[in-house]
């Protein structure tokens, strides 16, 4: 008996390792490149022969990258906050109320999620120039919210539907207004859903390249993925690979922190004990 469990554990462990390695090799490779000196960059070795932090010094030495990092963090956070708040309200209405045009709303939001973003880039560019939004934070935040909302609504309404309706009725009987019932009873229970949605939306905004490159032109609103593409070496003969890799590692860190921070909140069974079973 004990033998089979050990063997089963070994088998599972091996499988886990394969999956993790497969998923992480590109990331680790980039991390490894970011620590290599320009001379050893192309030696094809996974483990750097000479360690250096020069690449990191380079990217933080110029204003270019730091500025883009600030833009990225600001834009992604604001877009996430707005999308999650609006999405929560819309999802709550969709999961709880029967209002005219509900199916239309759900349908349209699905349509937005499906819409090829590339085809919207040129019209958006023209519109934003007309309204003076081009190359500003709102100029990126607005399209991000638009495309993140369907995602938020879908994820959140699934979470809201899981929350027993009786809890809301109970809150109302206990003297809560609709708003209080939502804030004090429903929202805390939907917290895992809210965090999950926040993470998804944040990653979507953080990773976006298409909108960021079309709708910005200067450091005013340029985000990191775009700033990376503008990296140049110190001379035209120098390869910026090391710097790009260092920057890629740096911009991965907030995502990892974000996920780790919220992961602790995404525990299942938060609603257990509310109702029978």
């Amino acid at each position: 008996m004990a033998e089979t469990t050990t063997r089963a554990r070994l088998r599972w462990g091996l499988l886990d390792v394969i999956v993790v390695v497969f998923a992480l090799i590109p990331v680790l490779w980039i991390a490894s490149l970011s620590f290599k000196t320009p001379a050893t960059l192309t030696d094809g070795k996974f483990w750097p022969r000479e360690w250096t932090l020069d690449n990191y010094r380079t990217i933080f030495a110029t204003d270019q990258f730091v500025r883009a990092l600030v833009n990225s963090i600001g834009i992604a956070l604001i877009a996430t906050a707005v999308a999650v708040v609006l999405g929560a309200m819309a999802a709550y209405a969709i999961s709880r109320l029967d209002f005219p045009g509900k199916r239309l709303l759900v349908g349209v939001s699905l349509l937005i999620a499906m819409f090829p973003q590339v085809s919207l880039v040129s019209p958006l560019f023209e519109i934003e120039r007309q309204f003076g939004l081009f190359d500003t934070w709102p100029g990126l935040i607005l399209p991000y919210i638009t495309f993140a909302l369907p995602l938020a609504i879908y994820t959140l309404s699934a979470f809201f539907k899981q929350i027993p309706w009786d809890l809301e009725k109970a809150a109302k009987m206990d003297g809560a207004t609709q708003g209080q019932a939502f804030r004090r009873v429903i929202a805390p229970l939907a917290a895992p859903g809210l965090f999950t949605t926040a993470i998804l939306v944040f990653i979507f905004c953080w990773n976006d390249f298409l909108f960021a490159i079309t709708l910005t032109s200067t450091e005013r609103a340029r985000t990191v993925p775009v700033a990376l593409s503008f990296f140049t070496g110190e001379s035209q003969f120098e390869d910026p690979t090391g710097a790009i890799c260092a920057a890629a590692v740096v911009i991965t860190i907030p995502i990892i922190l974000f996920v780790l921070f919220f992961q602790r909140r995404i525990v299942s069974g938060l609603t257990s004990g509310a109702v029978k079973g």
Partner: protein
């Protein structure tokens, strides 16, 4: 503390279904009223309308003399216990119970005092800092009750509060509910599907069917004097036996023999549109082994002989099942009751009869046995509308009454 009056209250859903039709009900201050009926008969909707969770389509609802039709639940000052308990899983027992008080903006000390008091009454003091997930079903049930009693509302509404508990705990909690209600003297409306709960708990029982009230009265009265076939069949366990009875030559031809009828019933059957076929109802305890009946009693009833199907000895008495020949009683009400009980339609010829005989009876399976039944306790129903023909001025008088 308040009385609750439902004045022709109806609920019609947008798709046209009428869930509750013209319910008139006066619940006195401090009274414990049970709404009972098969599933989907509008009891929960009625309760939700009293609570304010559901709009009232027409009619008037008054609590303590005040019209509350348009008031939000929070302004009605009534508490509700849900079937699912609906405890807030993110709060401890203490926070759950304090929630209504915190919303009412009481100061911290008062809240604490009231929660402690309620916890003491319900023996929850040791559990106050636990989360609902770490409580057993019975404990969760008590917390739900605690949350209701803690703010001393005008009335309690309970929506099948015990139906998620196992049988043993249910009996135990039944006494807890009963004691609590008497102790607090708060007006209570209690919805249940379980007729045992209805019989044991309430001051008065309201039997509902298809959104309409069938009969309102103290449990014993409903049991002894059912107004119609539905009430007769719903109340009592095992339920009343129903047999087909044909009116012929001033007698009722039934599977148990010819049943004589008295003046009163005869008068009921005289009219041109009077039913020619009836349904005869007898409760299991109104049968007795013919050997054990003394002569004096024998005169008040009649006897028949039938093969014994099954004998269930309960210790105190015996449930004996007989098969009798003859047509089976049929009526819409009976089909509904059978569907609610989950009984599949019995297709065999003849009817099955449940009797409760005294424990001394030597009856055994497979025998033919002579059985006596009490004619003074039988009910006769009109199959077309379910009316109890033996009921005079609200009193059932049996078939022989003059």
């Amino acid at each position: 503390m308040a009385d609750i009056v439902l004045d022709k209250v109806s609920k019609k859903f947008p798709d046209g279904t009428v869930a509750v039709a013209d319910v008139d009900l006066e619940i006195a201050d401090g009274e414990f009223v049970i709404l009972v009926g098969p599933s989907g008969c509008g009891m929960s909707t009625t309760l939700n309308m009293i609570a304010g969770l559901e709009d009232i389509s027409s009619g008037e609802l008054r609590i303590a003399g005040q019209r509350v039709n348009d008031k939000a639940p929070r302004d009605r000052d009534i508490a509700m216990v849900f079937q699912s308990y609906a405890l807030y899983p993110n709060m401890t027992v203490r926070e759950n119970m304090a929630f209504p008080l915190r919303l009412a903006k009481l100061d911290k000390e008062t809240i604490n005092r009231k929660v402690e008091e309620a916890a003491k009454v319900l023996e929850l003091t040791a559990l106050l800092d636990r989360k609902p997930a770490n409580l057993s079903g019975g404990q969760r049930q008590r917390v739900a009750m605690g949350r209701a009693i803690v703010r001393q509302p005008k009335a309690f509404l309970m929506d099948e509060p015990l139906s998620n508990l196992d049988a043993k705990l249910r009996v135990q909690m039944r006494t807890v509910v009963s004691r609590l209600q008497k102790q607090l003297g708060t007006t209570t409306v209690y919805v249940t599907h379980d007729q045992t709960e209805a019989m044991t708990l309430g001051d008065r029982v309201v039997i509902m069917r298809g959104g309409a009230v069938q009969q309102v009265g103290p449990p014993q009265e409903l049991y002894d004097h059912p107004r119609n076939l539905f009430v007769a069949g719903f109340i009592g366990s095992p339920s009343m036996n129903f047999l087909h009875a044909a009116v012929e030559d001033g007698k009722l031809r039934t599977a148990l023999g010819d049943v004589p009828i008295g003046e009163r019933v005869r008068r009921e059957l005289e009219g041109a549109d009077a039913p020619r076929e009836l349904i005869l109802g007898i409760r299991p305890e109104h049968f007795e082994d013919a050997e054990l009946v003394d002569d004096d009693t024998r005169r008040r009833g009649m006897e028949f002989e039938a093969p014994v199907d099954i004998v269930e000895s309960m210790g105190s008495d015996k449930y004996v099942y007989f098969t009798v020949e003859g047509e089976r009683a049929s009526a819409a009400e009976l089909e509904e009751l059978a569907a609610d009980a989950g009984a599949s339609d019995f297709t065999g010829a003849g009817a099955s009869l449940v009797t409760r005989l005294s424990a001394e009876s030597p009856v055994a399976e497979g025998q033919h046995r002579r059985v006596w039944f009490n004619l003074e306790k039988i009910h006769l129903f009109d199959p077309s509308n379910g009316r109890n023909l033996t009921l005079h001025e609200g009193r059932a008088a049996g078939a022989l009454a003059d």
